[in-house]
Symmetry: D2
Subunit: 403 residues, 4 copies
Amino acid sequence: MKRIFDPVHHFIELSAAEARLLDAPAVQRLRRLRQLGLAYFAFPSAEHSRFTHALGALAMGTRAFDELAKHGRAYFASERDVEDRRRLVRVALLLHDIGHGPFSHACEAVLGVRHEERTRAILASDDLRAGIEAADVDPAAVLALILGDSGGAYPELRELVSGPNLDADRMDYLQRDAYFTGVAGGRYDADQLVASLRLLERDGRVVAGIDGRGVVALESFVLARYMMFASVYFHHTTRLFERILQDVLRELWPDPRTLDDIDEFLRWDDFRVLNELRDRSSEAATALRERVRLYALAAEFNAERDLHAYEACRAALAERFGKANVWADEQSQVLHRLPLVADDATPTVWVGGAAGVVDAREASDLIRKLTGKAYWRKLFVRRGAVDVESARRICREITARAR
Amino acid sequence: MKRIFDPVHHFIELSAAEARLLDAPAVQRLRRLRQLGLAYFAFPSAEHSRFTHALGALAMGTRAFDELAKHGRAYFASERDVEDRRRLVRVALLLHDIGHGPFSHACEAVLGVRHEERTRAILASDDLRAGIEAADVDPAAVLALILGDSGGAYPELRELVSGPNLDADRMDYLQRDAYFTGVAGGRYDADQLVASLRLLERDGRVVAGIDGRGVVALESFVLARYMMFASVYFHHTTRLFERILQDVLRELWPDPRTLDDIDEFLRWDDFRVLNELRDRSSEAATALRERVRLYALAAEFNAERDLHAYEACRAALAERFGKANVWADEQSQVLHRLPLVADDATPTVWVGGAAGVVDAREASDLIRKLTGKAYWRKLFVRRGAVDVESARRICREITARAR
Amino acid sequence: MKRIFDPVHHFIELSAAEARLLDAPAVQRLRRLRQLGLAYFAFPSAEHSRFTHALGALAMGTRAFDELAKHGRAYFASERDVEDRRRLVRVALLLHDIGHGPFSHACEAVLGVRHEERTRAILASDDLRAGIEAADVDPAAVLALILGDSGGAYPELRELVSGPNLDADRMDYLQRDAYFTGVAGGRYDADQLVASLRLLERDGRVVAGIDGRGVVALESFVLARYMMFASVYFHHTTRLFERILQDVLRELWPDPRTLDDIDEFLRWDDFRVLNELRDRSSEAATALRERVRLYALAAEFNAERDLHAYEACRAALAERFGKANVWADEQSQVLHRLPLVADDATPTVWVGGAAGVVDAREASDLIRKLTGKAYWRKLFVRRGAVDVESARRICREITARAR
Amino acid sequence: MKRIFDPVHHFIELSAAEARLLDAPAVQRLRRLRQLGLAYFAFPSAEHSRFTHALGALAMGTRAFDELAKHGRAYFASERDVEDRRRLVRVALLLHDIGHGPFSHACEAVLGVRHEERTRAILASDDLRAGIEAADVDPAAVLALILGDSGGAYPELRELVSGPNLDADRMDYLQRDAYFTGVAGGRYDADQLVASLRLLERDGRVVAGIDGRGVVALESFVLARYMMFASVYFHHTTRLFERILQDVLRELWPDPRTLDDIDEFLRWDDFRVLNELRDRSSEAATALRERVRLYALAAEFNAERDLHAYEACRAALAERFGKANVWADEQSQVLHRLPLVADDATPTVWVGGAAGVVDAREASDLIRKLTGKAYWRKLFVRRGAVDVESARRICREITARAR
């Protein structure tokens, strides 16, 4: 057994086989992918990697699974079945991010391939497959859990791995991102949330959810997500440099199809991209290397009622300064991190209680109010080409009239 | 200068005159009043006193004042004016809670006198008056600030002391209560909130508010209040024993008018009440001493739409089990701690920006959603007299029908 | 199962029988005994009770026991034997402090009875005995563990409960006192220390100790004790008021023998003593109530080489100002809290490794340097009767000459 | 003014000129140098950069300087003089690490040039010189402070920047390294240490030191250094891979002299070295890339009395397995980080008090015991070439005999 120390979860224990899996190049590569991409431009200490997050997700997922098993032993065939699924969940969480490219979301935007899709090919490599099997886990079940494949053998475990709302991925990254940025608002009552996890029966199916006494902990979890979004993930400095980064990536990868080759893809990581900047002289590469703000924030919008104002401002700026000089950031790539985005047909989190199993929106006024589409929008204009003060005034006037 | 160490704010510095004021019996008495009353029945470590909170409020208020003064020097007549008001704010915050009786809210409920009203008489005592004047502060101005008297000389400082929404009282107690209970959800981004404080002009008046870039910090502050309410202040165990405590206080004070005498009033504190329990044999005294849960929670309600169900359950329980065996807890005494309770006419927090000074509800979708009346209600029934399971079933059925 | 939340250890779980034991009046009384006595005169927030410490000791002891059992299953007769001893350790730690009187050390100094001796009588009371047996634990074994009785049935568990060096008592109180005072120096690497605990064989006996890889964690534990002593436990303000408190206790208990009756003894707690101050007019009672410093620190000594200077100063002050006006504080009552006080014959902590089981002084240069007698001494003089500046000068001159 | 958020020091404020200096490529390069080099092999989350440390050193140095100035205004010619020196200290701390090469100590070992020596050339570059002058600071004074040049104009400020014992560099990195590794033992009472800083007069010179009441805080600072050394800086996994890294660097830089050119030197950073590993097939490069432990720890020694045993083991291993297969790690490159290494002639920290200004070894028994040479030694053997168990047994036997 190997013990690894982590400032968020303290000791994380790994079996010998898990520790060997950790040393696989595709997993060690996660040390060179930052959990928060370019957020260090706004929060300098946000330098933590997806590698520490993978360990943290394994740790949180184990605690979550153990709580489900402790209260739901009846849903498992045997003690051995518990152990089998526990190993599966751990390995799936350790590997859930291996499909990410450099700077994750920017990379996906440029290459047009979601990280989950890369996972299949990477898991199929000989060394990973062998490592997973050495840990007495079925690689196909790992893939199904990571992809959230509805045909997977253990549907009730999917929520723990791929969410969308009670996954160990989020349970770790909120705590981790809050710790490494220092943003207090991202902390939530993780002990209480884990303690309330339960397997529940809903319409004849077994689903993962929470006990009714955990509603406040779930609220704190949802609010922490909201606060991290507002403070960190959508910070305008980060967004601005991620926009510039996309131009850099297009320059580095004139033919995105070359990265369809998984070996070539795995040769790329954040450090290599930053390293490539050294000798490049394009405007984007220079801006990223020397921290030049090519864009300026003209306006931001946070509420549904401002959607019209947003569209009107966007159109006005484009007309006045030219479409190429306006960047309307709808931030759709990170929307899956939002608090409980849901439509009426999709459940959020199941909550058990004396009165049966209900959706969290039924159990909590606060969650009902916070659930739904997000309305964060930002409008940037190019410095140099646009008079920033004029752009801001135009937006202010339109917004004031629209209200 | 005296330095006091505090786990929340680290060093708190006091002038020699402030340190002497601290030693006044009416201030030392705050060591025997707990900040969270009987919450230690639910959170054992919540044993912190109003004394440490008074020091913490002084510390937060000083930071808040310094930020206002740094950015708003134009609103002060002179450097000396800054110093004068700073001393005033500090002393007012140090003394803002001296009017509390034992267990605060329970005491107010039984005696029918709000703590602010006691403050006038206590401040008028010779030793406090002399201590305040020795700190070069006007006792009348202190009283006006604590009472939030609209005729006070420094209206823009009232918000810092008596709120209702940006006061150093709340800024300290949220951090402190979160620290001493360990509830993570109560933490907010205090550094960012303080850094965004500004004096603003609104309709020709100077008001305290925040800069537009502080909206996220304000949201974290509002959410922290919500979470502490949901987790700690309204915890059913605390509420239940506070109900029992009221019976004990009535027993201890058969004639509440004897405590109108301020010297007699000051002779009472939490420790004395707990001490008085030792030799009493009434049901309430025994229950408080031996932690006997005389009541059981039958149902709780958190949303506006459940108000009808709440009323219906309350009526049904009263009819079935007798009015005397049902306790409907609307928690109105603690409602002033709620996040941004406001009506349409009263502002919440002023937010400055390029577009002028607006209400926080305009600046934040989240704050608009959370502002308004609170709908937390609990129904308790007396154990022994009532079959608890039947009571819970009645409530469940009524609530299910009402939705 | 009952879950209690604690800011130091997060959730602490109790069985139903343990939770009922918690409600026994002798245990609830611990809520009215402060862990750090009068230290709140120097650190205002040090208001935490022995009740929270008792829960914390149970929590740490459980973690420690589980680690011993996990690695030392061979030393247990059966799985059931593990469970039996685990319950025993938990109950013993929950109850280990029930013999303390008000303000603990001051009380022991005045009454001349050590708290462990009261424990026997208290444990013999009907309700505690019944409560312990309901938890399926033998009251006699509990008593033996608390007293560190060498004839006890489980000698290897004594170290966990009554020390002297690896007990869960210290493991909790260092973390707790550091948390509630805010003194960073009191934190140690508790996770690592617990992870290194092992049952070892030494000269044919099974002893509790640590694995060799835990030496650094043990060092951090020893240093944390040193720092808490230097910062908090021996703080001159605390010592000074504990001296005054002894006079108050003598006033309250003119005949100490009345407290030999255990029922009478249990009727006393910190809150009652503080309450009794209200109407007393003796110098000591007034001083404690109004925080009057009757003594002033004339000199303090921390090193062995200063022992002669200490004795010389003490004699000189006594000669000059009268013996009654000098208080030489050798702090012997708290010496048992010191880091690894030991003589050559008594082991400190056993450390296992490839080379066999050795004393911690063999395994760590740092521990060898820090082990031994403590040489903290303070000389106080009575204000009013003594010119403090003269007293300090006398001590300075003697000390300078002595070096 | 620009505000940067840091999890250790919260808001760090920079003037506009300082913020521009931050964007200089030589400063931004610090983002690609890790504060703890390869320590992330043992503590995965230790991924923080020298960039965040430089900001933290500036923050701690400012607090330290402000305390010195507040209590020592008499040592400054004017208010303007205070401001001038404050700006100087801030800029010097911001830039104190710009001379580091990739992986710092390994780089120095390979290139044979200490980082301070590079600093002169880097500071002489046009853009840094201009940036420093724009911040109204003299580049020559910055260089003198960083180099600890005894001929510098402000000798009393040298201690704050280049130590050896009270520098803001250590004040920050201990807190930061403790935070990012999670090792509790590295925390010290920074608030108390800073609060005790004073300018003192000793033999007619002004020196930086501490007030006598700060001795405990100084002890906690010294102990924190000790603990971080024992837990992190000398961790055998880190040391082992730093040894391998040296071989990699020699491979990357066959002619070390090419890096004498400062432009070429600045083109190297940790990320580039890691990036270069991708396509290399040497044993060292492969080991570093795939985390292969080429060496195994045979024995470690921590005490002076073990020096003979260390030498004997070293000789025995070399004789048995060949010198090339044994690595004796005396860790001399990191010794400057040790607690209060000093000889009798060199002072440690000056401590002021009523009895004059004395060395910290006079004021603290603990510091006297801990001061002196360090005796940490480790012996590694090459896996494959050496039978590790035999090597360990040889060392055990020699050590046992030597004691």
